[in-house]
Amino acid sequence: METLLSPVVLFFTLGLVAALLRSPMSVPEAFAKGLAIYLMMAIGLKGGVEMSKTAIDGTVLAVFAVATILSFGLPLIAFFALRVTSKLSRTDAAATAGHYGSISIVTFVAALDALRLSGVEPSGYLVAVAAIMETPAIITALWLALRGRAAPESNAAALDRGELIREVTLNASIVVLMGGLVIGAIAGADGYERLAPFFTAPFQGVLCLFMLDMGLNAGRGLRRGWRALGIAPFAFGLYMPLIGAAIAAGVSLPLGLAAGDMAILMTLSASASYIAVPAAMRLALPEAEPSIYLTLSLGVTFPFNIALGIPLYIAVASALAG
């Protein structure tokens, strides 16, 4: 209940309701993009500082491996579920599935915030886990969509692999997150102390502003895109996060993760990308319908995770990991 009534969730709800009621209110575009970069930089830096304090042991490497496998594997389950339950084409199902293997960095930030409210501080290396899980799902989605298809023509109009690889590996969220992580690890706690007035105290306020914008985006996406969704894809947007979280909980147990770390891995597996994967899909699978995968990711799964998913994942992780 405390999580649901946190200012972060309430500002998200405000934006969502305002958009659904057709309010013309908006957060200026460049400002909102600046907020996103600030949040990713802050999360990366703090994660890097935490990583500088602890050695990378076998458990951390095992979590990296599990996260990679989850990101590769979850789209297979999502694709199967969509193909069996809905009438989505192979391309649309594959593009949508890719979103559910990758992660939403804002959901990750909201989960970190919710955990801190509960007095739990997750491990810093989970920022690296978030970055690791951005990309493999894109490869699985492309494999699912392009399987059995003829190779594209080799001319300027055909798929530019270099452009796609650049987008997948050097997209803004990976560069800022991983860059922040490395800089935080190099700077350490002493170096971060000089930045703390900028990155620690204002963080909550900036997150509220950003969540207001996310609420507006989610509400507008849902209002404009709901017609493109049938009941089955809409239901998929609600049950797929639970499947992802359950699988992550299952693989976390043998690793002996602490409750906070398990909750974050569950949240990452439950979240759906709305930055990295849509950009990659517009380059690699432009014939896939963005009103389906963006509405599902941003308009259905994101609000579900913010309002209900995250408190649920924290409760389950606490019960399982004690």
Binding site: K33, E153, A172, S173, R224, G225, A279, R282, P286, E287
Partner: protein, 104 residues
């Protein structure tokens, strides 16, 4: 009286992720220059859209404007058509008059 010269004006409203591919086509066709302008909002394919705030810009639309000789612009149309078969966008060509033909 100042002389004006006939040229073709190519205007493409297209999703931002396709921009680099469009530019490659124009460059290969020998187009000497173009300008890209961000779009604010619009309606098409039964969907309203507006400029997003996500940092990838994957949902953004842009307008690409280029003016050139008929031979150059026409030679770019076929590959541009192939690109627009896959990407969200519309293309139009109109006849315009320019002041300094050497620039195009």
């Amino acid at each position: 009286m100042t002389d004006l010269h006939d040229k073709l004006r190519l205007e493409i409203i297209v999703e931002k992720p396709a921009l680099r591919r469009m530019e490659n086509v124009l460059e290969e066709a020998g187009v000497k220059g173009w300008t890209v302008i961000p779009c604010l909002s619009g309606f098409g394919g039964r969907t309203r859209w507006s400029r997003g705030t996500d940092i990838s810009g994957a949902s953004d639309m842009i307008v690409l404007i280029s003016i050139g000789g008929a031979d150059v612009i026409m030679s770019a149309l076929d590959p541009l058509h192939k690109l627009l078969d896959r990407h969200i966008g519309v293309l139009s060509v109109s006849e315009v008059k320019v002041l300094r033909p050497g620039l195009f």
